[in-house]
Symmetry: C2
Subunit: 301 residues, 2 copies
């Protein structure tokens, strides 16, 4: 999994601080998560191929998470896109997009599918043979979901030298990767484990923004390889966090610790702080494996 942060600042776009958008590349997919104003410029800047984006996930309908979506949809049209585009987001997103396209007589020449969300329980929104994507209901001022991207466990790895040494015919290889035993040339059964090794561990990425401190998400994101959790404020402003249903860096770290994730990535910083080092320091007192998102930063998960 490769995560590129296009923007990780809260509230308003500024010259050197973009609001939320990120790209997750996994198993051949390029998923766009949130799409603030300016996202299409950031996509160009970090050389993400527009045509490879086929699924866009919108957490909630605050401007700093979706005001760039209609522009991106329009630019896809101008660039002559013909691939389908799937958009997952809160109920209402379809009407907002289509109204603007209609006003400009700018309907897309590619197929646009809206998957509107309104459940307050985790919901499977995407699945193929390699991964699943599930909503993570969050606690914010408007209806909001995070998203959990989970790889499926891959096939067992064939030890081709061992298989040959045991005299197993290659016509069995496909079944062996699925975990089956196979006969050697004499018809003697060869145990699967003696000619395969375990698959790579399945990774997972949990995106949680925006949200108040909300331990209800812990069971769902437990053992995630990486967790992006918003930290709009420092603990010194915890009253503001409570009032606006955002989290502090400390609260994000408590969630990371409770969920035993591999790595915590902080973001959605309020513009009131000049630097972000304070967020990292505050979180690391509770959860050591904390990193800071920054616009343009790439994380290998």
């Amino acid at each position: 999994m490769k995560l590129t942060i296009l923007g990780c600042h809260s509230a308003t776009p500024r010259w050197d601080a973009n609001p939320t958008a990120q790209v997750l590349e996994v198993k051949g997919h390029v998923f766009l998560i949130d799409c603030a104003e300016g996202t299409q410029v950031q996509l160009r800047r970090f050389k993400i191929k527009f045509a490879r984006i086929k699924h866009i996930f919108i957490s909630h309908l605050h401007g700093d998470h979706f005001f760039g979506l209609v522009g991106l949809i329009s630019t896809f049209r101008l660039l002559g896109r013909d691939a389908d585009l799937h958009i997952y987001g809160p109920k209402g997103i379809k009407e907002a997009m289509l109204l603007q396209l209609k006003l400009g007589k700018s309907y897309t020449n590619y197929k646009l599918f809206f998957h509107e969300l309104e459940s307050t329980e985790p919901e499977l929104v995407f699945e193929d043979d390699k991964l699943t994507i599930t909503t993570i209901p969050l606690d914010h001022r408007v209806y909001t979901n995070g998203f959990l991207f989970q790889e499926k466990l891959g096939e067992r790895k064939l030890d081709i030298n061992a298989a040959r040494a045991k005299g197993v015919d290659m016509s069995y290889y496909s079944k062996i990767k699925q975990g089956f035993d196979a006969p050697d040339k004499n018809g003697t059964i060869v145990a699967n484990k003696s000619i395969t090794t375990d698959p790579d561990p399945a990774k997972s990425y949990a995106y949680c923004s925006d949200t108040a401190y909300y331990p209800a998400i812990v069971p769902q994101i437990t053992n995630a390889t990486a967790l992006y959790h918003e930290s709009t404020f420092l603990d010194t402003h915890h009253e503001l966090a409570e009032k606006t249903k955002h989290s502090t860096a400390k609260e994000a770290a408590v969630i990371a610790k409770k969920a035993n994730v591999g790595k915590l990535i902080l973001g959605h910083y309020s513009g009131r702080y000049r630097t972000q080092e304070g967020f990292k320091n505050e979180a690391q007192e509770i959860f050591e494996a904390t990193e800071l998102a920054q616009d343009g930063k790439v994380f290998d998960i």
Copy 2:
């Protein structure tokens, strides 16, 4: 009049090429004309004070002219604005803005007035004691207006030394500036022209984008001090201009010449051209006083 170009490129925002938005400062007002995605970042970049913008004029509802508006409205709210904001644009703009604010439960805490336009005749949309603003109906793929900003002729300039020498009491100064004659201390009438000079000439700025070549606008914009006219294409691509209802640089120059304007400013360049020099050269063959808009360029009109 001071015109700051925030963006002057067509169709899609790019790292170094912003779509349409400009700021006209005149008689104490700061008018924003069009508001493409990224406009609020450009406003910050060129240090335009957000709070001074009280009137926004939207030509038409194509994304590259209005997708930045909802974000700007939201940012005004986040910055704690309390001044009224007036928005002038095609019918439908109000619904598009309010729907998005409603979805985010982000209604403004300042007063927002929409002045929706649907007339195909020039319409006076703003007037105070110093200027008028009138729509310029244009010919594009969707309903579109340019805007004509016209100063009113100011008061006559009092020659205070001449007035004193003639013995005119200062209680008459206000009337004298309005053009009236006044008595000297003996009651003899002093001719207004002998103690005043002509006011500064009233300037005007005509913004015309987007539009096909449309000579019907010439009578309305005749003698404008400056004309911004779109030139999406060069004459080599005049079929594309016709098909998309845009103009070539040559056509913009013909309009400027017919209307006898003081200066032609070109903009709305298609991304297919690497540089803009070709636009200037093409236009200057017909109309010498041609300049190129560039993002960040300031014109004194």
